[in-house]
Symmetry: C2
Subunit: 411 residues, 2 copies
């Protein structure tokens, strides 16, 4: 560990400056207005891999944003690890909730980060993480300690469903061949309880549109006589869950892997304080599927959330309108062995079936992803576990998660 | 009628130019960005009353937008008619649904208006209407045919609930004293079926805010474990009506004046084609309270509509967020003898009572208004009816309505 600590100490300022420059690029893949920034970010990532010492760096075009690929093959008989990451970030709104600019990174000491943390959009989703691997790679090259072959695949469309990643992977099987994939796009329970994510939920994400009358109407004249698409949309969304917060879509739970009582008991041993959870989020109470704990709800149960809703007059003051249309973005987090395509179809069929005759409904799938669970008795997991133990002084616990963390990264 | 037609013919071009200039002013009272325009509009209205010949014109300040008052007292022994109107207009969004600019008035011939109509925001809500009365007044002054005393009260806050009108009226009882009030801020059934509005619904308008976690969360990590304020808001809105579209707020219908079978039978004689109604709005079906016809739903029954809803990510693409807050604007149209204050309170109590423990709920009343029904056996109604008959060739039918018309004004 000594040479590692020495290298970090000697290069810390440069590391921080480089990461901050990366975080300044507003690489928001969801918003076409930032197209050039996303492209610039791909260039910056390629540059960082080149300077770290990769002997082959490529910016691979796709039908969407490019994938940055790099490798360092030192001996074909050694195992190969592929590091996955993404250089795009989530949109930064609502901007008024940011204490500093999302693309003006600042280092701030907080109660939970007494040594200071970087606050910026993408700081730990996912620029901070893949940058950490790039710097670890640099260190191993500089100190001649690289123990295996290494490949990097850093994409630019993770936040919009990785639409073109699958084509790229299928077309580049040999180039991407490896023995293990290392993904740092999740979180750990805490610095006191290190953890490795072994399972990730899948995703089905859709946008729905409900149309009532063909134009906006005055609620005084038409109210009560025509379908108000907002009221109807709300009623349809309410019908997606029953009084126990179980999702009502027929067939939705058919392929859900049910855990044994033993497995659930083992999971329940992970440290978790409901009081602290509620306090941190200022919740008067938690809310979820009857019969499952909070950890089970996030870890092993599929979920459904409305991620956005809009319709009618949303400006200041009052307007007595019955809008022509109302919209919502709805996503479902899936667990093994649900299939995102199948769930998307089940949702679509059910949502259309519960629409009253008085409205028209459109359902547009945005993107999806299959759920995955990794075994823990493989050498790659054991190596990762050993590395975490060396760093944190404690064996990490394997956890299943729903998605990636965000907000800040400890430095 | 001859001298009237002559005067109109000789002055038509000027009338249209003047009205178009008035319509060009974006006097949107709901949006503070247009404050100066609303003030300018008050000046323009006062100017038009002055040039029409009023012997006293005042721009009366209020705590909000001013009320334009004018009068012409020719003989205190004659009856006095007060004309009410409003010079403010509704916000013009969604702008993409306008074929021409909302404040760039154009004259267009359409299927329903073969002689041409002005299309502009406020053209018939309510600038077109009160302008018509100003010009009728001008004619009667010019031709020395004014048969009564006349007062004008044109306000600038109708579209935001006339908050300061009531104070003004209470403080100026003598100034505003009159024998009849003439309000042209409604519509007629059609040119073939002239009608006079004798009843207007009241209004209770509220904004609700549902708060879940104290900040926006990632749905992958927290989905299914914390209350999503959008889902909860939808569920709460869905609970405001039952499966027969009856409003579920306890006590809501307690004071509703129920009409006799005879009164309902008389109302049902008003010409109305459900097929044409559905066709005009491109509705697959109408939608409303079980047990009542479409005309009854809009005319004699209280209603509840969501006029706006928003929360979470509403930009392009996908974002897997659980927002901290979700909002809706909700209004109820009231009938005799419901009281807007009472209904606002009943709504607030009920809405809070159906909130799950996992969220916080705020309800903010926007503005209200009491319902009203005018008798038809009074001299003012008879005079109005006679005037309509002279113009349209047919006796007008008395109707009850929920609010004012909008979109276009026939010239």
């Amino acid at each position: 560990m000594e040479y590692i600590n020495k290298y970090i100490k000697e290069n810390k300022e440069r590391f921080i400056d480089e990461l901050i420059n990366l975080l300044k690029i507003p690489s928001i893949s969801a918003d076409p207005a930032y197209k050039q920034d996303v492209m610039n970010c791909a260039d910056a990532v390629a540059g960082s891999l080149k300077s770290a010492g990769a002997n082959n760096v490529e910016i691979c075009p796709t039908a969407g944003y490019p994938i940055v690929y790099a490798d360092m093959i030192i001996d074909k008989s050694l195992p190969t690890v592929l590091v996955y990451g993404h250089y795009d970030v989530q949109p930064a709104d609502p901007l008024e909730l940011w204490e500093s600019g999302p693309f003006d990174p600042i280092i701030k000491k907080t109660e939970t980060h007494p040594d200071g943390a970087i606050f910026a959009r993408g700081a730990c989703d996912d620029k901070g993480q893949f940058y950490m691997h790039v710097k670890a790679f640099e260190l191993m090259i500089e100190t001649n300690t690289l123990p295996c072959n290494l490949k990097f695949m850093i994409e630019g469309e993770e936040e919009v469903g990785s639409e073109h990643l699958s084509d790229f992977v299928v077309s580049n099987k040999e180039k991407l061949s490896c023995d293990a994939i290392l993904i740092s796009d999740t979180g750990i329970i805490s610095n006191n309880t290190p953890s490795i994510t072994t399972g990730l939920k899948g995703l089905s994400y859709l946008e729905v549109e409900v149309t009532g009358p063909n134009r906006d109407l005055h609620s005084g004249l038409y109210g009560g006589a025509v379908a108000n698409p907002i009221n109807i949309l709300c009623e349809m969304i309410a019908k997606l869950k029953d009084e126990n917060n179980k999702i009502t879509i027929p067939g939705f739970y058919d392929n859900v892997a049910e855990l044994s009582i033993e497995e659930r008991a083992k999971m329940a041993k992970a440290p978790f304080s409901l009081d602290e959870y509620k306090k941190a989020l200022e919740l008067t109470d938690v809310h979820g599927e009857e019969g499952f704990t909070t950890m089970e709800r996030t870890g092993i149960r599929p979920t459904l959330d409305v991620n956005g809703i809009w319709g009618g007059y949303i400006g200041e003051g009052a307007k007595t309108v019955i809008p022509s249309k109302a919209f919502a973005k709805i996503s479902m987090r899936l667990v093994p062995h649900q299939s995102d395509n199948e769930i998307t179809q089940l949702f679509t069929d059910y949502f259309k079936s519960i629409a009253p005759k008085s409205v028209k409904v459109e359902v547009r799938p945005h993107h999806g992803g299959e759920p995955y669970v990794s075994p823990t008795d493989i050498i790659a997991y054991k190596a990762a576990s050993q590395a975490m133990k060396t760093t944190y002084g404690k064996e990490p616990v394997p956890v299943r998660s729903g998605g990636e963390y965000s907000n800040s990264s400890i430095i």
